[in-house]
Symmetry: C2
Subunit: 126 residues, 2 copies
DNA sequence: TATTGTTATACTCTATAACTATA
DNA sequence: TATAGTTATAGAGTATAACAATA
């Protein structure tokens, strides 16, 4: 059931609607919610991306001007990734689109029920 | 969050574990829950598969001996799809595997909470 | 002519392995 | 030598369009 729902969300989360691909949104969103100023690339495996997919995804986002990569001075093998202003703007637009999609999909649920759903899902062991 | 969880489930639903690919499981499961003896292929769009993907998926399952396709005598353009005994066995095995995976993932939730989750998800408008 | 199912084909996504540079 | 990041490449998965048989 969960998979069915996820498929539906994916199909409806088109790039035209959000201005971003779903994976791009997920990475930007993770970057942003990390709170801290920057992140090591390896933390992008929090999103279950192989290192190579990670690179490709970051390349796309860098080409779009939504992130910046800098070498970590402490260990010049590492990259520090940072959200740009444009990136934050794009992220916010995509998040609004996602929210309104969520509103459609969960229209039958009250605010309280949605909160319950979120809370239950967040307790899943991934 | 939903997408994250779905990704995790997908990654963990390996073919070795279930004996079936996830999409194969979804189709067999849909066939089986249809209750009725047979189904027209077009109903496989209930799973959001393009007609061509549908054919390919059914080919795989037919090669495995898990389904049978017959022409509909009433309209010989149509195919009627039916689950075989082998198919039912494979489906049951895969469903058991999925259940135990579900048990792991939702270990933190009580039976009642899981029921609540199912009920909330089932009310989503896809 | 329209519809069901199929095939051919290409495009995106994801995975594997080899390579570069730093440590 | 080991690790972070990258590149090359191949394999799934998915989508588009043309085609055959039947209506």
């Amino acid at each position: 059931m969960l998979m069915r729902l996820a498929t539906a969300i994916k199909k409806r989360s088109t790039e035209e609607l959000m201005g971003l691909k779903l994976r791009q949104l997920m990475l930007l969103s993770h970057l942003s919610s990390g709170g801290a100023p920057a992140l090591q690339q390896h933390l992008c495996e929090a999103l279950w991306l192989d290192p190579n997919n990670c690179v490709l995804l970051l390349n796309e986002l860098e080409d779009l001007g939504y992130i910046e990569r800098r070498r970590d001075p402490a260990d010049r093998r590492r990259h520090v990734v940072e959200l740009t202003e444009d990136g934050r703007t794009a992220l916010e637009r995509a998040q609004r689109a996602q929210e309104s999609l969520g509103d459609e999909i969960f229209a039958a649920l009250s605010d309280e029920e949605r909160a319950t759903l979120r809370s239950l899902l967040s307790r899943a062991q991934v």
